[in-house]
Amino acid sequence: MSTAAAAAHAHQLEKRVLGVTNGKFAMWLFLGSDGMSFMGLIATYVALRVANHDIWPRPEDEVLNIPLTALNTFILICSSVTMVKAYVGAQEGNVRQLKKYIALTMLGGAIFLGIQVYEYQHLILHQGLSLFSMPDNVADKTPLFAATFYACTCFHGFHVFSGVVYLGVILIGILRGRWTVNRIEIVGLYWHFVDLVWIIIFTIIYLI
């Protein structure tokens, strides 16, 4: 361990276990269990989707706005790229780059959430897709779709929200001069994981 910041703050997070820092190891463990939680929801969706194949809305029913969500996917991928740019900035000790890209990553997450709120508002108020009711053009299809759709996307949306807050806390730390490369890497892991899960959710729920 030889980064200047780590030397300055001999922090618990920087101690090593299994060759990686404690903090990073803990984040990976968390992501593993969090991935299992997501998989529980996604597996439920898949099981219900397969079992109710004939009464499940299809993408061509246009219940969900695929172009808008594709744009949202694009935004989340962009925010992952800004996150790695922030990490590179941290590694090179370039605080200016670090601050800029952490802020841009937060902006990406915020735009994603904004679009998701708009999507929900449109679905609930204009199309009538709520937990127990379906839009008129798919009134003969199962409302299980709505329940599982909201469960999966809400759970993910809350992760994005937490990620933006987490990044905000890290950004405050950077502004006060208290940050380490390790901490930036850990928040990056969380952020990329949220992106990774969205890639799966987008495909399973929106495209299939």
């Binding site: 299994l18 299992m36 061509e60 790695v84 990774l196 890639i199 495209l207």
Partner: protein, 99 residues
């Protein structure tokens, strides 16, 4: 730093993810274009593309490609369990379909 390594080409990963996303959105329309018979192949293609994207994110953005073997093994455990979870639900699906 112990885990110092050359940066992967992040922009290349970005373009791969972007192109795959566009291809996915296009591929999702195959049953509507070519007929119902294409549904199964569409699902397989879409899932393969999604897994490819997820793999690129994990390997390069999350630096898993450059991590120690121990960590990779630990990370693979929940991925394996996730697959088991889906497979374990399949009999239930069978019962429901059967009536």
């Amino acid at each position: 730093m112990a885990e110092e390594h050359k940066h992967p080409n992040y922009m290349a990963i970005f373009w791969i993810l972007l192109v795959l996303t566009v291809l996915e959105v296009a591929a999702a329309k195959m049953p509507a274009w070519f007929g119902e018979a294409w549904w199964t192949i569409t699902v397989v293609v879409l899932i393969l593309m999604a897994l490819t994207k997820a793999l690129y994110v994990a390997l390069f953005f999350m630096h898993l490609k450059f991590e120690r073997k121990t960590l990779i093994v630990i990370v693979c455990a929940p991925v394996f369990l996730a697959v088991v979870l889906v497979v374990a639900l399949l009999p239930d699906v069978g019962f429901q379909v059967g009536g």
